[in-house]
Amino acid sequence: MPRHSLFRHGVHPPDLKELTAGIPIRRMPFPKEIVLPLRQHAGKPAKAIVRPGDRVERGDKVGEADGYVSSPIHASAAGTVKEVALWPHPDGSYATAVRIAVEPYSAQAPRPRIIPDWHGLSREELIEAVRTAGVVGLGGAAFPTHVKLAPPKDATIEVLVINGCECEPFLTTDHRTMVEYPERVYTGIRIMMQCLGVDRAMIGVEKNKADAIAALEAARPDDINVTVHPLTVKYPQGAEKMLITSLLNRDVPSGKLPMDVGVVVQNVASVATIAEVFETGLPLIERIVTVTGDGIRQPANLIVPVGTKTSDLIEACGGLMPDAKEIIFGGPMMGAAVVNLDAPVLKGTTGVVVLTEDDCRPAESYPCIKCGHCIDACPVFINPQLLGSLALVERYEEMEDHHLADCMLCGCCSYTCPSNIPLSQLFQAAKAAVRKSKAA
């Protein structure tokens, strides 16, 4: 096993994965209604191409990609379009969404494959198929995969890095994918390697997922150069830049992308999804979601139709416990609390975590006592203590000079702050203010 360097700093939040790590993935029943927001990915939202009253089959396109950095949206269940209107989005806003009344017992209509078989396809055909399937990164950011697969001509990619770290507490989506679908992971890697023209792939997995590492090793093919690398359990091991440092000992320069050091990083669930769409011939219409936390009755790893409302998902897991307090989309370190339980599961929703009163952050914070714990935690070596004090007085331009742009909002500083100062929230607000002033 090759030796690894390790990214510096970071924090050690409790793992909390034991709730669902051993539970096999199961399929949840179709809900009565599916809501498909047209904004589910990084880039431009899709454009609706259906109207109320239209009949859609499972896999039919309901939203057309608008531009290159965008992605189409497909119906995840057969039914009738009710309306195309504003609907609560998991990020707290309202977004245009296609609402479909589902016919849960409608048979899957016999139809030709939407996505062709991948064998024998050229690089361009593969990328086009991935684009047609609406595949985006499933790790949370939901960046359109076809853009990642076609790096600019002047970039040379040497290594494909597969991110199986899943360093967020509670979540086991990637974990179960690696344990149950290792072949899909490797098929997806083959397809990506062919698209990118690289001959080397590395899978980084945190050591706390011994069964996933064993499953990947057992299924590892010999004809491609792919290696599995157990990594130290530390948050945020799964952040792109940290993972590249840990695996390859290369630092992505400030303000640059992984491809500037010859690397493309893809999340393991997204890789498996690429294989899945070519396997089934259907576009990306369902994903694996971990529903967990002390506030849910039956924690589970579920195959969920994209667009399932949070309330239906919670019901499929036995409902909330009486002391459930906060419901989070994504992991507890970077995920967002949902305001409205009508908000649907998106392509990028890795998990739904229900926290109880005990788990939640207390409301009160104290003055900064300059303990320096945030500086020792920050994985990109900025000074959250200084940035925080600048953010409180809204000196955003000065914050930019202090590398605000390098902050990836991982939350290590807020996690470790004994005074409970909402540092990453302040930085998020500062970034938004900077964006706004630049746009103006």
Partner: protein, 333 residues
């Protein structure tokens, strides 16, 4: 479907179990063995002086501080640390004034917790040293039974303490500096010497501070920097002149060095935020302590060494900013 009585907060939704009040009260807790040792050594004057200093500090915080700021425990620490840096025989009203000054002019005037430049306890002590130099350097000799009060604890304000009549002893550092009489190392370690309340039992302070360091409530780099610097310089100087200069162990365990290094210099608010800065800070204090002890007009220099370095902390922080991930140059604040 809406969420009745649910919580909506920003990420991260988890946090460490430590909190600022927890850190502060842990520091208070870790002082208990030191206070017990001091009481055993000096008698009932110890709790009285500590109580007076703490009352001065907490009352000032209560009256002039932000609402509810007493609960974070920082005022109590200031009072206790100030008390531990005072002689047992000090009139109680002076201890009270010192505590009030430390909090009022050492902390609240800057804007309360986290804003102050100087360690409030040491500022309170510096004030007392300037205002009552004789009382602050009168170390009552331990005569009579354990339960008798030392010195003039009960003197009324502005009535000169009757120190002339009392039997006084000297501190080991004073003996060494002014009379070239060394004190045995064992006496220094267990504290059977003259000195301030918390100056004496070095080994107890070391253990208490070590506990805080293990909990990561105390930045070990600062005391380490101080100890290493003092030990190296003292060894060198002892090699030059063994009669005039005490050796490294005597230097480390005498005077306020242990208490200062473990508890005063490591005050989070008034020490650097970076690791490199902490080393610079510690080494600077060590240098200044040796300078003042050997060549200054005073027998003891820990207090001024720390206060001087406190003043440099903003500059140290500036000079030791971290280098951002993947960036070529250091931050230029």
């Amino acid at each position: 479907m809406t969420l009745p009585h649910r919580l909506i907060t920003a990420s991260p939704h988890l946090r460490v179990r430590d909190s600022t009040p927890k850190i502060m009260w842990s520091v208070v807790g870790s002082l208990v063995p030191i206070i017990a040792t001091a009481t055993w050594l000096f008698g009932p004057s110890v709790p009285l002086v500590l109580l007076a200093a703490t009352a001065g500090a907490t009352l000032t915080e209560r009256v002039f501080g932000n609402r509810g700021s007493l609960g974070d425990g920082s005022a109590a620490i200031t009072g206790l640390l100030l008390g531990l840096s005072l002689p047992a025989g000090l009139p109680l009203w002076m201890a009270f004034v010192g505590g009030a000054f430390g909090i009022g002019f050492g902390k609240l005037i800057f804007g309360g917790l986290g804003q102050n430049v100087f360690n409030p306890a040491l500022l309170g002590r510096a004030f007392l040293q300037a205002a009552f130099p004789v009382a602050l350097t009168t170390w009552p000799a331990r005569t009579g039974a354990w339960w008798t009060l030392a010195g003039d604890n009960l003197a009324w304000p502005f009535i000169s303490p009757q120190v002339a009549d009392a039997l006084t002893g000297a501190t080991p550092l004073g003996l060494m500096k002014f009379e070239q009489v060394p004190t045995g190392l064992w006496d220094l370690v267990v504290g059977s010497t003259g000195g301030s309340l918390g100056e004496t039992a070095g080994i107890v302070i070391l253990v208490s501070g070590g506990y805080l360091a293990v909990r990561n409530y105390l930045n070990w780099r600062i005391p380490a920097g101080i100890f290493i610097t003092v030990a190296i310089l003292a060894s060198l100087l002892q090699a030059v002149d063994g009669v005039r200069y005490a050796g490294p162990m005597a230097m480390l365990f005498s005077g306020g060095l242990m208490l200062g290094a473990m508890y005063m210099a490591t005050d989070m608010v008034t020490s650097p935020v970076t690791k490199v800065g902490s080393w610079i800070f510690g080494i600077g204090i060590g240098l200044l302590v040796v300078l003042i002890r050997y060549w200054g007009g005073l027998a003891e220099g820990v207090m001024y060494a720390i206060l001087l370095m406190n003043a440099l902390v903003p500059f140290i922080n500036r000079a030791t900013q971290p280098r951002t991930f993947g960036a070529r140059t250091r931050l230029q604040p």
